[in-house]
Symmetry: C2
Subunit: 196 residues, 2 copies
């Protein structure tokens, strides 16, 4: 027999349970009942913290988006040659993915069935757009190879980076740094113009 846990959750800790359930069952497939079971508290206790599952989704994807957009404000992303800023943003994006893995995983699986999901997709597109603009600037400087279409390169870069959420699991063997190095080496050293 299981007894319901006393509700010692904060909105923050409840969120981390919810995100895990969303990632396992999909957002659409998750009911308040599932969340209540996973948290070990009653549905009414959950409603004490949040208005419903869409609020949990909104908080979760906001955390991922805030992490990603914050990168674009960092000095390394706004100063210096565009190609160096591309490298900086790529590296920091990998670090945010690793640091906020369940939150970014959820963000990348959002489908667009609810208002919050559509908002999240819109914000993701805005982030991709800003990175694409950086790549364009680097290409205009002559620092990226001219034979790869920039929109295509941006999508492939995100394809590579975002794939981390599908296969990367934190373990002592591979640090965020090593991952970021590998991504930068593979994607950017391939894109960069080789100089005499």
């Amino acid at each position: 027999m299981t007894t319901a846990k006393r509700d010692t959750y904060t909105p923050e800790t409840l969120l981390s349970v919810a995100v895990q359930v969303f990632n396992e069952r999909g957002y659409d497939g998750t009911s308040m009942e599932h969340l209540s079971k996973a948290a070990g508290i009653s549905k009414s206790s959950i409603y004490h913290h949040v208005a419903g599952k869409e609020e949990l989704l909104q908080r979760a994807v906001s955390r991922a988006l805030d992490g990603l957009f914050a990168v674009l404000e960092e000095t390394g992303a706004v100063r210096g040659r565009a190609v160096e800023r591309v490298e900086y943003v790529t590296r920091r994006t990998v670090e945010v993915l690793v640091a906020e893995l369940p939150y970014v995983t959820l963000l990348l699986r959002v489908r667009g069935n609810t208002r919050t999901e559509r908002w999240a997709l819109e914000r993701r597109r805005e982030f991709d757009h800003q990175v694409a603009e950086l790549l364009k600037a680097a290409a205009a400087d002559g620092d990226l190879r001219a034979d790869v279409d920039i929109r295509l390169a941006t999508r492939l870069l995100f394809g590579m980076v975002n794939s981390l959420v599908e296969w990367y699991r934190p373990h002592p063997g591979t640090t965020a740094d090593q991952l970021a190095d590998a991504v930068v080496h593979m994607a950017l050293d391939g894109l960069r113009t080789v100089r005499g």
Copy 2:
């Protein structure tokens, strides 16, 4: 009022309808009822062609897997320097993804809840493993940069290639060839040792 279509399906054309429904609703979320509605024929007509939805899944992912494994038997994949074979396999994999887009999309979304799904995951891992072996051989030849772990490089390469199913839609602007070029340029020219 809609009238049921006369059953003019072959196993092949029924498959293409089923794959579309699987990709839209997820395999788990698809019932024989959904398939019957999408095909416009009765469930019993579908059972005339196949034993059930798992057989359709099996045929669909087999088509994707057969396409991918066939690449590994082609001359370009078995003869010549390992790094050239890596390039060949990368290029051909992109071409198979584009040619068999809905089938490979389904393959890459397989979760592992049924015997057929577990078998498909196992075959995917085998394919990834064979490509990883090629990359290892190229690294042993000194043709790939030594500062990127080969298993990591393989995952990032597949992350980039497989992301195509999420965003690539056939249109006159980008051919399979241009896509393959972009992937090879980005991933491999970054991996390849720059020679004096």
